[in-house]
């Protein structure tokens, strides 16, 4: 069934920031390594090292235990943390898989950016700090 994103759940280090996120992307890709040799007519490529990240846009909130509190805290420390993204708030299942970046890190954070009259939002990128990459949980 086709999916319209209305009810995506984004949990950062345990804190549910879904009602502040307006955009989220879960990405898992591999480097392209050129393996073309003499005698080839076409260039050939192999899959290289994998990389994964979760990016998003979040509406700023300076309330206690909300957006700024969570992101600033995570940006100022070195221990990896968990980020979870689920298409819908319903129970996790094969048709509502949860994407888990178990060991992620925040390599930068902009607490304030925008012009007069703008809603204060910030773009965040959670990069992979571990060896498991993005896991897809179905239960």
């Amino acid at each position: 069934m086709k999916e319209v994103l209305r009810d995506v759940v984004v949990e950062v280090d345990g804190t549910d920031l879904s009602d502040h996120f307006t955009q989220v992307t879960v990405e898992d890709s591999a480097n392209e390594v050129d393996s073309t040799a003499f005698g080839s007519v076409y260039t050939q490529a192999m899959k290289g090292m994998r990389t994964c990240q979760i990016t998003g846009t979040v509406q700023q909130d300076f309330a206690a235990a909300s957006v700024h509190s969570v992101l600033n805290d995570l940006n100022n420390q070195d221990t990896p943390f968990e980020v979870l993204v689920t298409p819908r708030s319903a129970a996790v299942s094969a048709t509502n898989p949860q994407f888990r970046l178990a060991e992620s890190q925040l390599l930068g954070y902009m607490p304030l950016s925008g012009g007069v009259g703008d809603l204060s939002t910030t773009d965040v990128t959670f990069t992979n700090a571990g060896d498991t990459g993005i896991e897809v949980l179905t239960a």
């Binding site: 949990e11 804190t15 221990t79």
Partner: protein
């Protein structure tokens, strides 16, 4: 070809404890004020406690949050907040919110 790196001990789940969600945002799917049991890793527990997302043990939300925070939490959870006079006590504010849930 080396051995798989060991998981950082700060990320390994600790012992199961009881916590109450203290902030205005949900924590691990639990609503503000809800008490839950979890085995958090030491690093996550330390961060969540220091930022005020959770507190240890079973507590009432009105014992943790200020009057303004109670109103903010109710709004973030979609609970209609009635007009509450400034001079009302925190307990009265908590009652008014509870009656609207």
């Amino acid at each position: 070809m080396g051995a798989k790196p060991k998981k950082d001990p700060r990320l390994v789940a600790g012992e199961e404890k009881t916590y109450t969600v203290a902030g205005a945002t949900r924590f691990q799917g639990h609503k503000p004020g809800e008490t839950f049991k979890a085995a958090l890793s030491p690093a996550q527990e330390e961060r969540a406690l220091s930022r005020g997302s959770i507190v240890e043990g079973s507590k009432k939300l009105e014992d943790i949050q200020t009057k303004a925070e109670l109103v903010e939490t109710a709004k973030s959870e979609g609970v209609p907040v009635p007009e509450i006079p400034e001079k009302e006590s925190k307990a009265a504010v908590a009652d008014a919110i509870r009656n609207n849930e």
